[in-house]
Symmetry: C3
Subunit: 376 residues, 3 copies
Amino acid sequence: MDFLSLFVKDFILQLQSPTLAFLIGGMIIAALGSELIIPESICTIIVFMLLTKIGLTGGIAIRNSSLLDMVLPVACAVIVGILVVFIARSTLAKLPNVKVVDAIATGGLFGAVSGSTMAAGLTVLEEQNIQYEAWAGALYPFMDIPALVTAIVVANIYLNKRKKSAAAQYIKQESFSKQPVAVGDYPAQEDYPSTRQEYRSQQNGDADNRVKIWPIVEESLRGPALSAMLLGLALGIFTKPETVYEGFYDPAFKGLLSILMLVMGIEAWSRLGELRKVAQWYVVYSVVAPFLHGCIAFALGMIAHYTVGFSMGGVVILAVIAASSSDISGPPTLRAGIPSANPSAYIGASTAIGTPIAIGVCIPFFIGLAQAIGGL
Amino acid sequence: MDFLSLFVKDFILQLQSPTLAFLIGGMIIAALGSELIIPESICTIIVFMLLTKIGLTGGIAIRNSSLLDMVLPVACAVIVGILVVFIARSTLAKLPNVKVVDAIATGGLFGAVSGSTMAAGLTVLEEQNIQYEAWAGALYPFMDIPALVTAIVVANIYLNKRKKSAAAQYIKQESFSKQPVAVGDYPAQEDYPSTRQEYRSQQNGDADNRVKIWPIVEESLRGPALSAMLLGLALGIFTKPETVYEGFYDPAFKGLLSILMLVMGIEAWSRLGELRKVAQWYVVYSVVAPFLHGCIAFALGMIAHYTVGFSMGGVVILAVIAASSSDISGPPTLRAGIPSANPSAYIGASTAIGTPIAIGVCIPFFIGLAQAIGGL
Amino acid sequence: MDFLSLFVKDFILQLQSPTLAFLIGGMIIAALGSELIIPESICTIIVFMLLTKIGLTGGIAIRNSSLLDMVLPVACAVIVGILVVFIARSTLAKLPNVKVVDAIATGGLFGAVSGSTMAAGLTVLEEQNIQYEAWAGALYPFMDIPALVTAIVVANIYLNKRKKSAAAQYIKQESFSKQPVAVGDYPAQEDYPSTRQEYRSQQNGDADNRVKIWPIVEESLRGPALSAMLLGLALGIFTKPETVYEGFYDPAFKGLLSILMLVMGIEAWSRLGELRKVAQWYVVYSVVAPFLHGCIAFALGMIAHYTVGFSMGGVVILAVIAASSSDISGPPTLRAGIPSANPSAYIGASTAIGTPIAIGVCIPFFIGLAQAIGGL
């Protein structure tokens, strides 16, 4: 059989996997107007359990494996995380009707990782009996944090430059009071300090124009998703959680994921409306970006595959976490780090299109790609 | 051993089944004033999981079985659902101090199906190793929707007739302002439009007196309980959810049901007070109706048993869903469809008496009946 | 190997058990400022499931065992529960800057039992394959209720005495209006009736100075934790819950406990601040008390071990429930029973120090002690 027919056949088969089926099911029942609701507190505990389990898996695996094997894949993850932001800066940000800060924030969110998408990827691999390094889930923070940090730093550098010229403009315009300032992709006035006094005090605070990186890293690490995962990782490395892992976190994983997939399908559908409010280029970006990012990660992963024997399953996971966009930890970090960016733009693009594409299309795509290449 | 002693012995044994024991336990601790509370969000997710599981079971079964076997049982379910409303219309509605619309709504609720009662029935059958068709749970919507639709249609036809004569009366009485209107089982004035203007605009809206059936069906299908079940059904038919079904939804079923039974026992006790506010005839009705409806369904089911080989376990399930009264999806549909009916009347009767009788008495009764007949 | 090295080695090993590791993990992530939150409703259902499971275990065990074996251990539990309050009355209450009512309430809380600590103890024993009587969990209410009742009775007797002398003082001081009353450990004025009229009506209500014991017992029994446990106990004794026990409550136990341990670790850290507001003697008390109470119970348990063959595992459980301090049912009962006591004092001491010491230090300590003695 040739590459394409093999690929298509495999793709269709995978849509029947419970993980993807629940995602699509959620979108369909939301489209049909179902009143089914999964309570917020249930979603919170499911995310906690999924990420704790991924952390535990990783921690137990790290305890029993050589850290050296991880170096190259970790480096790939970091590179992809940073690269994604610069891709958004040099493509999405240049498009008409797209604000630069919004584009950078969107790039940060698409570079950051979705725990649920990763969980879905791991599960689909297992459903198909494809081997991967047990510590592969631990790559998560190494792509997530660099992406968020890069986005916030790049956005702040941009905003500082803008502010200076805006300050110059502002002083000039002061004589023509009440005149609107916004021109082109220039940020909306409400995002700017409203009185001169505020403005100056902010300028003083920014005396040194450098963005502090550590608080952003810290904020990312403290988010509920990464906290749970790192807790699991630490417990896996330093304690003996095997009984509770095998008797509780591991067996419940797939089932809890199916509920979360349903919620994400429902959520994706209900967020579609938000996208109408922003430029259509976000739609194009959020369809193309998961593939593009995944392919870059896949290519880098293949280097690790040929040089240090990183498994093909591991390459697929690297591609899937690159294709994913953050849904839990990313948005609050970005909101705090780039307050002038419009959340409707980046959350809408990620939740309504990016995530369903990453889970429903990219996971089968990259598994199919790996299988067609013959590595599986 | 004779019929009766066999029946009584079996009945007592079944009250020790965990499912029924938790229901009775809930009533007892509520009666003793326990402050034990199961959070709302937990009940929601339990109902979701139970009904998704029932749907998945049904869907997987339908995929592997002949649809022809289902035709007669489905027809029985539809007949019982419609019949139950007309029974309430011609018995409960005629009793003193019972409003006609309240009686019709109560009939609709008792004709509709309780997912939890059905789950309890399926579980008690399994606990006793009694065989039944795996798709039996899929009979649910075929009794539920016809009952709700019939109740709303019958109530609206009745109200339209009343409205016309009321309109005539209203115009006559206008000269005697401030005089109360309510006479006999005539609906309370607050349920009627309060100003003449409102009244007329409503009359215009009702220009064609026909009740639209499709919106009622749609509303039923969109409710959280039926949504979850139909989602499970669709996933069971069109995808391959076996791994998540066997590893998650199926093993958790009995345990989650035990928690829900406890909640229903507590709820039943706390609703008893509401019943005091309405005519005692509701108490009589809600004790007798589950048996009566169950017996009708049992008789119809026996026809399917002898003609198309519908299993005795299936007959018991048909009787149990007929005996059950809706607790989740029914009330909001009825509230929207028959806004002038008094929810205390129908919800009190169903939750405080109908459901405990259906679960705690009718399930053992119909199993005992089937066993005594010798079909098991 | 000698006693000490064996003990230390065992102690360190036990900190790696998942139960203790999650507790310590929770304290660490809270200290690092993690935003991880486990929803309230999830904690509620976990506590329900843990205590129902402990109750079911006890009930099933009692059904199959001689009640006579339980008499002496039950007596030990009652003695310890009462003794603990009198120890607090004659030590903590005498210390400077400690109010007598606060000390008595704290004693009550440390005498009362924590379901989670007991669950942790049972689990660590099981993780180490140490045998214990399956009904040991049923000792809970026999220590819990006597402690709470004794605390409330002792506090009220003390307050009644104070009130009489205060009334005398009050009448004297009436001429010197606006003058503050509080002297020494005399209860703060806001806890006292603010107007003369209220005061007198209260005096009349207290006409007979006796504290009613039954309402306190009833209040304890109605609390959510004890309700769940007694429900499980009753279901275990009178029904056949084995299927749901083996398929649901038992396998989920350790995993759910791990989540609860995490929550308790987070909670302990966040409560540390409250302790700063009260006398440091509370810190000393809450470090020493769990050991002291545990040792008394251990000694009494050893008597039962040598006379009626109570297992060494059972002795450890008796010591652990004595070392524990109530976190769920105790505080509301005490707040209602001794309204003039300061909750910050007793809840802070118990949650921030008492519980982590009981779980993280006393459980390994008493297991180590039992093993070193050679009984295991």
